[in-house]
Symmetry: C2
Subunit: 519 residues, 2 copies
């Protein structure tokens, strides 16, 4: 199966269903099908060939979905770009991927214009807003006359390059085939069954692979996509009420903003039945508060990474147990069990399975595991050694097969020879009533190599001192795990492209002048 | 993914869940895992190798499930046999498949003993009941000491041979790989989501591929299998009540027996929430009566065949509409839409797609389509020509993608140059209040080549003449479609292995002495 089947099915079986809602713009699947075909024909007519890479630099919108399906229709490879990256990073990625065409929206147009002199292979600049020296997206659709010459696409052909920022080094393009993404879609459907009449809001950025299973599943079933251009809590809550949104995927920091926003009690959120979350561990305390604030909503967690297309585990709504025996309630701190279709193990440093209950690196095997990193044979071989995808995430598994991520391996703090997993410390800080956001990092120390530190923001109208927070931690944690330093900030913590707190940025000032690389 | 993952997952995540209930015998997944491993080790120790074929001649039971998983654990190929076949047919199949081992249960033991002198390659005869010159199934499990040497199984390796009786000629072994069955399982899960706590009754014969998706899905999710040794309506209804069965797969003739059985109103069937049906078209009138008799039950239809592992289409519960506009209610006569993961088309005699709405042959493409027929390269090439599985079933598709099977192509009656699809005539006869079972066939006629005839049984205590039934048909059908002859039988119509009415047997006496082959 190849990914052209997704829109083909949606449009054939549900032509009159509403496909996308994007502000005032709405279209049916039949209309979307026609626009996608027209744009695909226009690209092909201009010389875009099977296997060519197409850069996509856009905020969320119906055009994003259209471009993805149009590229696949002509066998082109999508390269969705993180719009929060700096120009230097974007230029590197676009040139690294050797893209031949690039599509930008109105917001990203100035950035594209600025980068243009340094982009090497782009032959077709396309913009969704009118702009000099750009082909107009709507013009191309309106004037398309040729029909698409359907290429022969094999299931192991490349469908997309998804660049991971990584924690160190240069961005790497994760190569995912039609089969990789299709199998992940089937695995996701087995884990999270589709429902008739689903109205799904794209709230997390669509460039991120975490959004792709929903992009495809909703289309396949003729359900409705609601586009939130860019995340903001008030806008999201208003849109849920206005469009009767039933489901949404968020990252924990977004959920935190929403449940602390006053509108959460003012808006009619009764249509909402499902929140999926993931991309970073969710503190158990925040999870509890969310379940209390939105009691009618089923919460489920997904864990994965771009290299696995992306889903690997799921914590089902039934496993979100607030009260009861410890072996059930502790699952709130878990990312769930491996989904059907993938095999997961926990390996030690010599790639041997650890004893059950011990911490090691999560490794995965299955038809959803990437082809490799684009033009990086050595990193590919290292990451896929022995036929297993090495995720770089440290976890333990309990006797019922639930995985507990103790930390991203590279985010672990080593202090005086002891390993400290920052999640554990973050969980404790979240329990303090004044804390709104928290990030635990390692800072340099002459004696211990590294010590545990925390950067926090407080809820508005609440006052707490660093000393108070440290003594709160000391009550709940071993001495070596207790932060030696807590920085209280007035403004929101810096976020990466997916809304995850960017710990690299937080660490930077502390590590200036040290030889050890900030990772 | 290979099929050993199925029980591996069930036993690892749900060790203490009840796996099988078979009369008084119950076992957990941990216990089942241990028995399966022991039997696999015993087979391996006795010399059964990867790729060897194992004949299974058993009624429904927990041993059936155990044998299937044990064979896969050592890379052997299962050959489940239709226990209703005549000795001649079974001997042909077992020799054709070149089986090296055979497992029989107590019921099929006398048949096995009788066939034994003519079975060519069997080195290991195993019986679940004590018998001379047979290895005891329980002894092998109790005495297994070696551990299983896990073979390297590739996903395109053969997992099973499933013999189809076909309508003409000799039985053919459908070769299904691990990938075929695994993909069909994923497709089935996308179409029919698993539910926590499902208690599934194996009521249709487990040797039939229609039962395999449930055998695997229930195991994968740690849910419970309830074994009904052999179908009988009273026993089935009693077992639903006793074990609080939630779901079951049946063929239309079985449903017909159940809803006409007095116990349907006496038993507590409140646990039952799902009936899947398929294997032969279900008359719309019977479907309506079922929905009225069991209003709390979701009905869904599957259509497929062994060659597609087996599922191809599904009619969802939402599409079972009793009242409303015609374009919705007519779906009761449909077998639904293609499931996610397979492509379906309707081809004409030159393998070109017909115009929408026209009748042609259903063809299918997808990772669930068989590797081919065992040792039948010519029939394989013919059936899979052009990369499409030719199902031999005639259907039309409506503008919403619903498929309407008008008849098995070879079952069509050609009378005076006009095509008559027997389902249409059967539907009309079913509407008559006296009719219990019906089969429409073609009988020879000097003038028209063939004419339409029907064989029926009546409900007990009701009287109707052939003349009455013919004039009932004449009211609803064109003259050439109205049966010229109706045979009323006292005893149940003859059934094939899956409970389908065996039209070949019904046609035989009429066609004796004619040159034309009875098909």
């Amino acid at each position: 199966m190849i990914l052209t089947q997704v829109l083909k099915r949606g449009a054939a079986f549900y032509p009159h269903h509403i496909a996308t809602i994007d502000g005032e713009h709405r279209q049916t699947y039949q209309e979307m099908r026609n626009r996608v075909t027209a744009f695909a024909a226009a690209l092909q007519q201009r010389g875009v060939k099977q296997g060519d890479r197409i850069a996509i630099l856009m905020l969320n919108g119906h055009e994003f979905a259209e471009v993805i399906f149009a590229c696949w229709d002509i066998g082109a490879v999508v390269v969705p770009l993180n719009y929060r990256l700096a120009a230097e990073e974007l230029i590197f990625i676009i040139n690294d991927a050797e893209c031949v065409a690039m599509i930008s929206d109105d917001v990203m147009l100035p950035m594209t214009v600025a980068m243009r002199p340094r982009l090497e292979g782009i032959q077709h600049y396309i913009a969704t807003a009118p702009a000099e020296n750009f082909l107009g997206y709507e013009d191309l659709i309106a004037n398309a006359t040729a029909s698409v010459v359907t290429p022969e696409i094999a299931e192991n052909d490349l469908a997309g390059l998804f660049y991971t920022s990584g924690t160190t080094g240069l961005p790497k393009g994760v190569m995912l085939s039609h089969r990789n993404l299709w199998m992940n879609l089937l695995h996701s459907l087995a884990a999270i069954p589709a429902r008739e009449g689903e109205v799904y809001m794209h709230a997390a950025p669509m460039f991120h692979l975490a959004d792709f299973p929903s992009l495809m599943s909703i289309t396949l079933h003729g359900n409705t996509h609601v586009m939130l251009k860019k995340f903001d809590p008030a806008g999201l809550l208003e849109l849920i009420e206005r469009e009767r949104v039933t489901s949404v995927t968020l990252v924990p920091t977004m959920i935190n903003f929403i449940i602390n926003h006053p509108d959460v009690h003012r808006r009619d959120l009764s249509s909402l039945t499902r929140i999926g979350y993931g991309a970073s561990p969710m503190p158990a305390e925040l999870l509890k508060r969310t379940m209390q604030t939105l009691p009618g909503v089923e919460l489920s967690q997904g864990y994965g990474q771009s290299e696995s297309s992306p889903l690997l585990t799921r914590l089902s709504p039934q496993d979100h147990v607030l009260e009861g025996p410890e072996h059930l309630t502790r699952r709130l701190a878990s990312c769930g069990r491996p989904i059907i279709g993938v095999e997961l193990q926990i390996f030690d440093d010599s790639d041997q399975p650890v004893k059950q209950g011990e911490v090691g690196e999560i490794v995965a095997r299955g038809p959803n595991v990437m082809l490799g990193y684009w033009k990086r044979p050595e990193e590919t071989a290292r990451t896929l050694r022995g036929g297993w995808l090495h995720t770089g995430d440290a976890a333990r598994m309990d006797e019922h097969g639930f995985f507990y991520i103790v930390d991203r391996t590279k985010d672990m703090i080593v202090t005086g020879g002891e390993n400290v997993y920052s999640t554990e410390v973050e969980n404790v800080l979240f329990k303090h009533p004044a804390v709104r956001e928290v990030a635990v990092i390692g800072t340099p120390d002459e004696k211990w190599g590294e010590v545990v530190a925390a950067v926090v923001t407080l809820k508005s109208g609440v006052i707490a001192t660093a000393e108070e927070l440290i003594s709160h931690c000391a009550e709940h944690l071993a001495h070596y795990k207790t932060p030696k330093l807590i920085e209280i900030r007035d403004s929101e913590l810096p976020k990466g492209g997916t809304g995850k707190i960017d710990k690299k940025v937080l660490r930077e000032p502390y590590w200036k002048g040290y030889a050890r690389r900030v990772n």
